[in-house]
Symmetry: none
Subunit: 152 residues, 2 copies
DNA sequence: CAATTTTACCCACATTTACCCACATTTTCC
DNA sequence: GGAAAATGTGGGTAAATGTGGGTAAAATTG
C-alpha cells in the first residue's frame, strides 16, 4: 500500500476530482473507498489518507494533553479540518469547499503520491514550491543525521 | 464515536443551529440527542459534549482539590457554564443566549469536530485564530515530546 | 390568578447534495 | 493505424438536508 507519482488532475465545476484509475483498486480494497482529507500545517496543501491510516493518527493526536497550547493548536488544525470523503461510483472525490479554499484549489490541481498518503496541491502552488526546493542547496548543515548518511 | 471536520453553519433568528446530518445518527444513538455545552476557558469559543462524555469530565473536575484556587476557577467556569441541550425533531440545537454572547456568536458560526467533542466558534473569530495558528511555526521548542516524533 | 412573554414542538417550503446515466476522450491491444 | 476498451467529464434528477415560521404549551410577571 504505497502511493507514488505526480498526477495532474482537473477539478470539475462541482469541485470533484477523478482519482487516477491505477490507485482505485488499491483504495477500494484497502479501505472501501473511505478516505479522510485534512490540511497540511506547513504548506498550503491538503493531506489525503485512507480511513484506517487516519484513525491511527487521530488517536495519537487526541491523546495529547489538552492544556498544552502547542497540542491544542495541532488538534484544532489537523482534527478540526479532517473531513471524511468517499469515492463515488466513478472514482471521484468531492473536496469540501473549506479545504479547497485553504489550499487555493481552482481548476488545475496536482495529486502527489507520498507513501501511505497523498498530497493535493494547486498546480500553480506546487510548481512554485518545487522550484524553491530545487533552488535550495542540498547538504545544508541542518540535515538530520539519518539524512547525512542516506545512500540513494 | 469520533468527530472531525469544519462545518460552516448559520444561526437562525431564534439562535438555533442545525447539526450537520452526518453527525446526527451518531448523536442520537450514542446519547439520545442529549448534549452539554459549556465555555472554553482559554479561547472565546464553546465546547459541546455528548452527555455521557460530559458527565465523566464533570466528575473529574469536581474531584479536584477545593482549596486550590486554580481548581476552583476551573470548576466555576466549566461547571458553572455547562448547559443541557437537546436536539429538536429537525436535528437543531438552541444555544442559550449567555453562551452565544460569551463566544460572540451572531449569524455565521463554525462547528469544529474535535474527537470526543465539538467546538463552536464565531466564523470571524475562528478565521483569525486559525491564521494565528498557521503563522506559528511547527517544531517550536515547547512541543511535548510525543509531538516531536509524531510522523504524519 | 390573569395576562404576556418565552420556550418547545411541528409542519411545509427551498436548497443542496448524492447518485446515476450518458457522452467525450484517451489509452491499449491487435 | 484502427477498433475496442477503459478512463475522464459533464450534467440531470430524486432524495435528503437546511431554513423559516406558526401554534400550542409552559413559564413568568404583575
Amino acid at each position: 500500500m504505497f502511493f507514488r507519482g505526480v498526477n495532474p488532475i482537473n477539478l470539475d465545476a462541482k469541485g470533484r476530482m477523478a482519482i487516477p484509475a491505477r490507485y482505485r483498486d488499491t483504495l477500494t480494497e484497502h479501505c472501501g473507498g473511505h478516505l479522510v482529507a485534512t490540511i497540511d500545517t506547513e504548506e498550503r496543501c491538503l493531506l489525503l489518507y485512507p480511513l484506517a491510516e487516519w484513525e491511527e493518527i487521530q488517536a495519537k493526536i487526541e491523546a495529547l494533553p489538552s492544556f498544552n497550547p502547542a497540542a491544542r493548536r495541532i488538534q484544532r488544525l489537523l482534527i478540526g479540518h479532517a473531513t471524511d470523503i468517499d469515492m463515488d461510483g466513478n472514482g471521484r472525490l468531492l473536496l469540501p469547499a473549506p479545504l479547497r479554499e485553504y489550499a487555493g484549489l481552482s481548476k488545475k490541481i496536482i495529486l502527489l503520491g507520498q507513501g501511505g498518503k497523498f498530497e493535493i496541491w494547486s498546480e500553480e502552488r506546487w510548481m512554485a514550491t518545487r522550484e524553491e526546493y530545487l533552488a535550495e542547496a542540498d547538504g545544508g548543515a541542518e540535515l538530520p543525521e539519518e539524512l547525512q548518511n542516506l545512500s540513494l
